[in-house]
Amino acid sequence: MASVVQAFMLKALHVFQVRTLQSLGFNTRVTLSNKSHNKGALATDYRVDLTVYSPDGTGSTYREGVAHLPTDAAVRLDCTQWQTHPGQDQVMIFHLMPTRLLSAANGAGEVDIDRAEIWSLFTAQDHYVEYYRLDGFSSGVLYQSGAFNYRKFSREETTVIQAPKVFLTSTLDTVLSVLHTSFEPNYHQDAVLRCSLLNEQAKPVAQWTSRIKPFTGQLISMRQALSAGGEALPVGDDMRSYTLLALCENAALLPLILNVDAARGTLAVEHSLPPMYYGHSVTGPVRAQMIAELCCSGIFAKEEV
């Protein structure tokens, strides 16, 4: 049955959200793909627009038409050209604007659109972000990222992370990257992310709360979290492994796990797996119950006020 969403922001219909990684010495490049040709009548070219946020998230610039993306094609874009604060990380949102809908948008850039069409275009492909050095070394990951914290896109405004992928040596760190964005007008709340780092025996070796300002990307070092928790840091090539668990009850965040060897200039990037990958029905009320039980589990420290 058709389910038309009224006044949906066209620039929120199909987005790819990335962060730059200048603070770790990497430049950023994206490859946007268009596989809408697999969706029959929904096939469309895209005009690619771009929002670049200041490092503190309080300012932004919007660029119209930074690229054209035809059907069954890809476009590779170097983000370095749009960075405005050398050495600092910035959030960038690529807006894939269906060209066949541009003329249908009202003065506010909104269209009435079937929900199935939104999901069909958004899920037709993933996109690629890569972080590279000038010597050629590059590491990246494919993922999809919707218009988080925009109720016309999704009412799910929580985040859960389970990541058995924290590896530390004297030179190796694991860093949680979280992006916090929204498409709601006048959005200004901080996201409150409660984190717990567990050893193999389920003992929390560090518990903390991070507040993430809107329209920013935060890097959370597990090495620093461990140190702040009073744990001794690994020395030499002795590798320690931990599981990171995290919960945010007031915002949908975009998490990536970065394994970084700063001394050697190497990087591994991987997205997390949402709960539905573990339990196929963990959505809606089942997800809400999961979060309610996690809150009472004692695995996270009580939220700091």
Partner: protein
């Protein structure tokens, strides 16, 4: 089948509903087939698999303990290690593949690891409301010169998973500074699978280099394409392609090797 239908037709609705309630209550939670990914243990690269008791996380209201079954196979699909270990509530395990193989007196440079976690109380309603359960994990690869990679599994050992058609990755390989591109391809199915895998020009889609692989059931193959001979490291962008995938989403892993000895790797 006919008898079943006749019994169903003969039963009053209230009796059928009562039967179904009891049946659903007694039925165990459903698990996917073991989740699978490739390990590398070739002297240059070592692998660690990270697994957490995900049911503690998804259903924290109940104390979940259970058994984690780990199976290692070699590149031809032969079973080398089959180990079961207990996991208590919120516990996790980091499985050093090299150490596991050594403990069992086995040697293998490349192969499959598969994991499945079975909770002690599989009929607990707390698990059944989660739907079909998949024992996801993450693979950490570590090599020389500080090279590291993190890759999640893409497929399971489901014997009914159908092969899929041509695959082209959405990621682009920049050839600047590259010494080689190495692809790791697994076959999680129970039958042999032949495919042609390689690199194509990202823009023109012309095939640049390729190799046909005959993958045994549950086997793994590695193919390397050297810069200079297989492709030109002139800055032209490439994409990985495959003529087919042995099962749903069993995509190759893509390793970029650089001339200074470092590598990066991801799912394609």
């Amino acid at each position: 089948m006919e008898l079943k239908k006749r019994v169903r037709d003969a039963c009053p609705d209230f009796a059928l509903q009562a039967y179904r309630r009891v049946r659903d209550k007694l039925a165990p939670a459903k698990l996917t087939a073991p989740v699978v990914q490739m390990y590398i243990n070739d002297g240059d690269i070592q692998t660690t698999a990270g697994f957490n008791n995900f049911l503690s996380f998804l259903a924290a209201g109940v104390q979940t303990s259970g058994k984690l079954r780990v199976t290692l196979r070699d590149a031809d699909g032969a079973r080398l290690v089959d180990q079961t270990m207990r996991l208590n509530h919120f516990e996790n395990r980091f499985l050093d593949i090299q150490a596991m193989l050594a403990r069992y007196g086995k040697q293998s440079r490349l192969g499959l690891i598969s994991l499945v976690f079975v909770p002690d109380h599989l009929r607990d309603q707390a698990y059944k409301r989660l739907g079909i359960l998949a024992s996801q994990f993450f693979m950490f690869y570590k090599g020389g010169k500080g090279s590291i990679a993190m890759v999640h599994p893409s497929s399971t050992l489901d014997p009914h998973s159908p092969s899929s058609g041509p695959f082209i990755t959405n990621q682009v390989v920049d050839t600047v500074g590259l010494e080689a591109v190495t692809l790791y391809q697994c076959n999680p199915s129970q039958v042999p699978h032949e495919l042609t895998i390689g690199l194509q020009d990202a823009e023109t889609k012309a095939v640049v280099c390729s190799q046909t692989l005959n993958l045994p059931p549950l086997g793994v193959r590695k193919v390397s394409f050297a810069a200079g001979s297989a492709f030109s490291a002139n800055g032209r962008a490439l994409r990985v392609f495959s003529s087919s995938l042995p099962t749903a989403n069993s995509k190759p892993m893509l390793c970029r090797s650089y001339s200074d000895g470092r590598f990066s790797m991801s799912h394609s």
